[in-house]
Symmetry: D2
Amino acid sequence: MTTSPRVAIIGTGGIAHVHVRLIRELGGELVGVCGRTLAGAGAFGHAPPFDDPARMLRETKPEIVHVCSPHHLHAEHSIAALEAGAHVLCEKPMATRIEDAERMIAAAKQAGRIGAVAYTYRGYPLVEVLRAKVAADAFGQIRRASGAYLSQDVFAADKYVWMFSPDTTGQSYALMDLGIHWLDLIEYVSGQKITEIAAQFSTHQPERVWHGQLGEGAEPPGIPTADGGLRVQHGLEEQADLLIRLSGGAAGCVTVSGVSPGHPNTIIVSLDGSQAGADWNQQDPNIWIERKPSGNTIHQRSPDVLPERLSWMSSLPAGHAEGYVDAFRNVVRQAWSAMRGADGNYPTFLDGLRGLQLVEAAVQSARTHRSVTV
Amino acid sequence: MTTSPRVAIIGTGGIAHVHVRLIRELGGELVGVCGRTLAGAGAFGHAPPFDDPARMLRETKPEIVHVCSPHHLHAEHSIAALEAGAHVLCEKPMATRIEDAERMIAAAKQAGRIGAVAYTYRGYPLVEVLRAKVAADAFGQIRRASGAYLSQDVFAADKYVWMFSPDTTGQSYALMDLGIHWLDLIEYVSGQKITEIAAQFSTHQPERVWHGQLGEGAEPPGIPTADGGLRVQHGLEEQADLLIRLSGGAAGCVTVSGVSPGHPNTIIVSLDGSQAGADWNQQDPNIWIERKPSGNTIHQRSPDVLPERLSWMSSLPAGHAEGYVDAFRNVVRQAWSAMRGADGNYPTFLDGLRGLQLVEAAVQSARTHRSVTV
Amino acid sequence: MTTSPRVAIIGTGGIAHVHVRLIRELGGELVGVCGRTLAGAGAFGHAPPFDDPARMLRETKPEIVHVCSPHHLHAEHSIAALEAGAHVLCEKPMATRIEDAERMIAAAKQAGRIGAVAYTYRGYPLVEVLRAKVAADAFGQIRRASGAYLSQDVFAADKYVWMFSPDTTGQSYALMDLGIHWLDLIEYVSGQKITEIAAQFSTHQPERVWHGQLGEGAEPPGIPTADGGLRVQHGLEEQADLLIRLSGGAAGCVTVSGVSPGHPNTIIVSLDGSQAGADWNQQDPNIWIERKPSGNTIHQRSPDVLPERLSWMSSLPAGHAEGYVDAFRNVVRQAWSAMRGADGNYPTFLDGLRGLQLVEAAVQSARTHRSVTV
Amino acid sequence: MTTSPRVAIIGTGGIAHVHVRLIRELGGELVGVCGRTLAGAGAFGHAPPFDDPARMLRETKPEIVHVCSPHHLHAEHSIAALEAGAHVLCEKPMATRIEDAERMIAAAKQAGRIGAVAYTYRGYPLVEVLRAKVAADAFGQIRRASGAYLSQDVFAADKYVWMFSPDTTGQSYALMDLGIHWLDLIEYVSGQKITEIAAQFSTHQPERVWHGQLGEGAEPPGIPTADGGLRVQHGLEEQADLLIRLSGGAAGCVTVSGVSPGHPNTIIVSLDGSQAGADWNQQDPNIWIERKPSGNTIHQRSPDVLPERLSWMSSLPAGHAEGYVDAFRNVVRQAWSAMRGADGNYPTFLDGLRGLQLVEAAVQSARTHRSVTV
């Protein structure tokens, strides 16, 4: 990239700090940060603060806007940015309603700008290695596509996060916040599309307590507790178990949970092919395991194992761990590359919409106790 | 046990050899072996051979009969043994039809004899440790009950086993041969009953080739192949993905597969509780993992970690591996103990029937694409 | 074996119970048990009790004697058994002094009887697999032969075992009780002989407290403690670190410790060859790992992976764990086989002497801070 | 840091590219790059090229110089930079001779400038966690300090690297290039100093072939081969096995190897204390294992587990891998911080000298077959 892109951020939560780091490492110029309040944006630092996206867009004229606001505001903020002529990299889930995602796609098309979604985990080099191997038939016909996304984000008793508040995240918690990554990954790696979903949702702790702390969002409706909190009822699933059937004949199951103790961020992709199997786990992202009846082999990430066109994704020799930020940077780098007119295999707004459609199918299945065709 | 029990075996397949070893190690007197042919029973060795169960029962008057014949003959052989006054330890699945299992239960009741089922994996000491911990609320309320039974038994291309022949194993392969163990284990360990099942069945290799080799059973209908085999169409699932909901509020999913490369016999029980989680894998049976947000702890089997009443199940200090035969012996020992009038916590014919009912529910769900209440 | 061998045991400690189990499983007839006291031998059970080895040998006329007495009595008991015409399977270490081992060897030769040593870990199928692969040059020239024997046997503060008492175990604790197994294994697997040793001994808890409990042996000299115990000074190493150089050019290091927390019985054999490397760990005895720059492969034990002449060592298919007792039985079976005139690749008295010589070299090196040529 | 430091690099090998990345991420201004040739420095890119360090120092007036040249030039380049008024961050090993390191220390003192050494692995958050726990007596008295540094850097047959050329790396390959990191780590983490070393060196492939490729350095003396290479004899150890005794009573052993297949960069630190043990492996840097008789616990890195004064070292929540670059940046950040007058716990020139002294002791021990007091 010859010149530094001018980049603005909307949203100042935890993930926004990672975006700042990526913008810097990729040589972007951070021209504005827009928060819910001017004080919040100022405290966030790094760039001139704003509390009004429209004003920030007008005054800073960014080439690229990173949308890191709460999920239900992604559509409004992304559309504003697109209409102001900026490309958009939007956090996941792309929106909380399918119609919002569709409006975002229309806005991007109308503006002739690119919309990308932060499906971070696509950026791991070994995800691309597995994808390339599947495409090259290295495992034979893929028969099983399974895995898990297990986290302990809301395991602590009474733990509250803003996604439990009404109208912030759609009709799902675990799938919208966590599972949407996995659903994207399994389709991306397997090269097959999910055609049928049967889902079972579980709400293990329907009452949780809001205390107005970091990450808990604005005050939700609730019943005051003795210690100054609010007891809130939520109806969202903390655990979703899914059966999936895919277009190429694969089938599998997955559990997505935010209440699985001892799993900080376990994201497993597991494939069985007619020739061999493969496993990858985001918590140990520098290895993958090839399974054969003759033995299971642990393969190390290194720049050499990537397809040549993707060797830029990994710079360190085997045995020198790359991590989450490296993966995230690979995603942003490709999105920016496309935004600036070059090649770039980035997760598009259509991929973001796809995620919402899959979650919607799961929500319907969980309600009706029937499988749903996607 | 003061005197040696007189024990007879019906069936001479691979598992029958393990039964012989157990019978010996437990001090039983093997009085007869009944095969499909006299020659087969003679080649099996170890005891006087028979090809007629009735005659063997009449002539050897066994106190206990181990039924190791093909699944669809379990009922006939078990009922004959019970009617001859013997107790029965029957291989799994107990029968291929629910009505057969019910007839076996009736016959045992009528004869005043005990019917036990070889749910081998219950015999691992750490299975009892987990069960006791769940019962003592060590993990809090159990919320997730998941796992897998992955094997490569029929992974090889064209691989044929007798269970693919018509009328030998009911309407299921993977669940009947493998999954029934897991379904028993998850209820046994969690202390909860499965109340709802949604299933997705996959037949990845519907054509397989019979060559009349060991384990392939009698000649099935099929189309001759160039190399003297028979190309057989079967409609059974090689992979079953299930969603389960349990009586105490737990939910989970499980994949059962006979075509998962690199998995000789992976049987995973994974629980999430409101306080902690737990994992156990049959392939590494001397450890279990306790999961907590503060860290995951690998616990070793040792006689000390068992509840005192069960300390006999394990004799070796930690770090000295016990194995499959030790587990199997623990199951047989308890069944024999009960048969001889003492205490014994063994898998009963009712547990065997339960397995068939769960498989039946899964079969129905897979057909209708709806969840089935058990 | 056509007839049951008549077998007697001298010694009634923990390991003697494992011997009884093996004798039974192998179809031996246990004709006598000799303890330090008649009461002890009676309490041990299983066979007529004795407190005088000579008398037991005279009255029971065993074909085979298993010597499980304290280390410093192995020579006396083995020689008595050999002179009475019995073959001897002696626990390790074979003796506490080299001259005792040499007398045992002479006695066996004089009597025309076989002397075997219970190097249990040789009996694991995968130990034979690795040995056969090394011999077949599967890893290329072996360059590194390393590993560890880490246990927590005497980790607990003040923990006393009888080997800390004077004159019971020679000039070493960790190497004599634990390390001697590893030294045998590394020579057995690598096919190379240790030619040079440099050792570093550490005594981390030189004072320990005897309470006369099981496994603590007879009362040693010491200073009475408030709670009725005896505070005993010992000068033996609880941790030994060794450098070894081997006859074929391999070199490596090993730590042997009885005070390594979290290691119930970790015995690691690790080889680097000029083509590939290999690792095996006794605590996970059903797998071994082949290391190559292209990836490390986990291989499963199964009867198929053994050289055909050794396929009897393993009977269960992959994924069905075999354990410590299976390994031990393989060793005893081969020793018995040789004793009864058939083939049998068992650890001989010469192998037992070899162990003492290696320990002696390490003791000398630790004292002089110089490497010692063996 | 209020203003960007002006930073120059001497050396353009592989590691220099990582330095550029770190300089950028930390906000430094790269003002010059000095290579062996102007063309090489130009091809390296990123900043104005030089082939004369003196001229670069004179013209660019850097505040900080990163010395990444071949080992035997570290002294010359560092001293030039210090005399020019710059602070120096020097790659490891600090020099190839102890007297050179001493001259560097004197030059830094004379110039009133800071000299730091790139002991990269100190920068991993969990290294600091273990160090803090040892210091807080969390494991009790440290008794065993062991580990390994296993790599396959020069495993390939004939593989040549410039460190095999005469006068480039002192009297050692494996210890100078790899082991020096481990020796620093074990003292850093254990808080104890090595007081005695016994070493065993092995040269497994004394002949290797130079082809003038990347990383092979300038043409060494050798015998021409048919394919245009040079067959070179080297006398350096590719594998070093060490026994170490430490000031606080700990003892252990370590193998350092560049020819261990399947080990891209395994760096293990393993401690046994009187209360618990601990293991950490650089290839899986986001976890450490606490060992206790009651079980071994896998602890995850997260910002929360660091001592508060060090919480800046880690920014990602548990389950989101940090890697090698994050660790390296932490080291550089602290060195720069100290160079610019603030706090910074960085590896000093004295730590660099220490490494050379330990290697020298090992070299002497390997020659004399006696342990050497440090």
